[in-house]
Assembly symmetry: C2
Homo-oligomer: 251 residues x 2
Amino acid sequence: MAVSSYHHGNLREALVVAAVEAARASGPDGVALRELARTVGVSHSAAYRHFSHRDELVAEVAARAMGELVAAMEKRLDLVEQAGAVDPVDPVLRARRRLIAIGEGYVAFALAEPGLFRSAFAASPLPGVPVGVPASVDDDGAGAAVADGGDRADPAADLDSDPYGLLTEALDELAEVGYLSAAARVGAEMTCWSAVHGFSLLHLEGPLGTGDAAARQEALDQVLVAIDRSYAASSGTAIEPDDDIFTRRGR
Amino acid sequence: MAVSSYHHGNLREALVVAAVEAARASGPDGVALRELARTVGVSHSAAYRHFSHRDELVAEVAARAMGELVAAMEKRLDLVEQAGAVDPVDPVLRARRRLIAIGEGYVAFALAEPGLFRSAFAASPLPGVPVGVPASVDDDGAGAAVADGGDRADPAADLDSDPYGLLTEALDELAEVGYLSAAARVGAEMTCWSAVHGFSLLHLEGPLGTGDAAARQEALDQVLVAIDRSYAASSGTAIEPDDDIFTRRGR
DNA sequence: TGTACATCAGTGAACGCGCGTTCACTGATGTAC
DNA sequence: TGTACATCAGTGAACGCGCGTTCACTGATGTAC
């Protein structure tokens, strides 16, 4: 809380905030130390008291952008819960809706905040994405999801803090209720994440950026329905044509 | 074929070739007029005799990169045909294999040539992707190598020249043989393209870049199988667990 | 066949831009005694 | 309570980088007569 004009008092945070705004407007490349210093009202070399390289700042921006992405996904999950409170549905439909919801949240964020979305993947050391995936529960059907208290200290806290974690939880739930077969559960993260990530980028910077919002929404619905259908088929579950797996309306 | 040292003789092409190599190595941002001029052995302002802006060169690079991408996809399609010649299969399995093949070709190219892959989508005015597309032919003549005549005179020629066209053909075939229902056919391009595009980018610049080649291949297989299963389900087609939809082995 | 001339395709100097990073420095803060 | 001093957090000049683009120019080419 220093009022001095020489010591800023909270320069690091001020720089990060300014950097996030720059990234929001122009993507990760828009984060320029000199310009941020100008914005914050400080000499350009002052930043080096708080970050050893520009990349360190960009990494911080990536982390915050990822946080916003997760928040957007969780917002959609909340809508599912609210809808379920008003008009209860069976666990299977609920699980399907939850998977759809996080996909929609992901894409909605990407399209609403392209700069941040791109920043989230710029040099981001996303925590806890198990690429080798040792945790491939050749599962005993039940158990896993809620308290999967394996070797990791507090996995739940971890899981909720990044998109991969949310996705894993949603897929686990889908497997538990029997909608997604154990065989199809393996690698399902990849399918879902690829689909929504690709959809987002094809619309952001790809040749598909032209469609209007309604067309885009319809296209996304089709992608998500295709995935849902694949999972139903994996377990031989019949799906009713009038199953409402979209909780939208909340926008 | 000028031997003069003053007139280059074929500067435009030389610049494009150098630009493609720069993009191959460093992506679209690696295309710098001054550096290319240096490479080609010409003053940096000479480039402006052939391109009015840097972006014009980058667009040309994008087109060539897209061409290489298509070639990679077609290479995989050829493998399917070869396998089919040796060991004939029914039309349904053939159609499924063809869809898988172009997906594999797409991803293989993206991972083998990340710089070009990114360049292909940098400011590329991909021809013939019908989103809103009033077909406003704003092109200034120059390109149009094969003389792609009227407004849609020869769609087949068009279709083969870009990824979207190959995908459309493959999906049409899949619908014709009854594997993909008419309802699911709508928007199917989006699902497939999103999946392979997202998969590629998550591995290129996303948090998944670490996995080894074998793990990556397995992950891709799972994605493609999920799509195949979705389409089977759309038409109620039963799929045999030992259907071999992967034609690989050719690498 | 030879010459004048228009045109094409280069040159190189210059403008203006903004960036990341380093370095010796100085003003402010807080702590030990 | 007051003072010395270490430490922290700024300053501003400087280095070095490479880029895109413009402009007046000049060397080479080809064509009309």
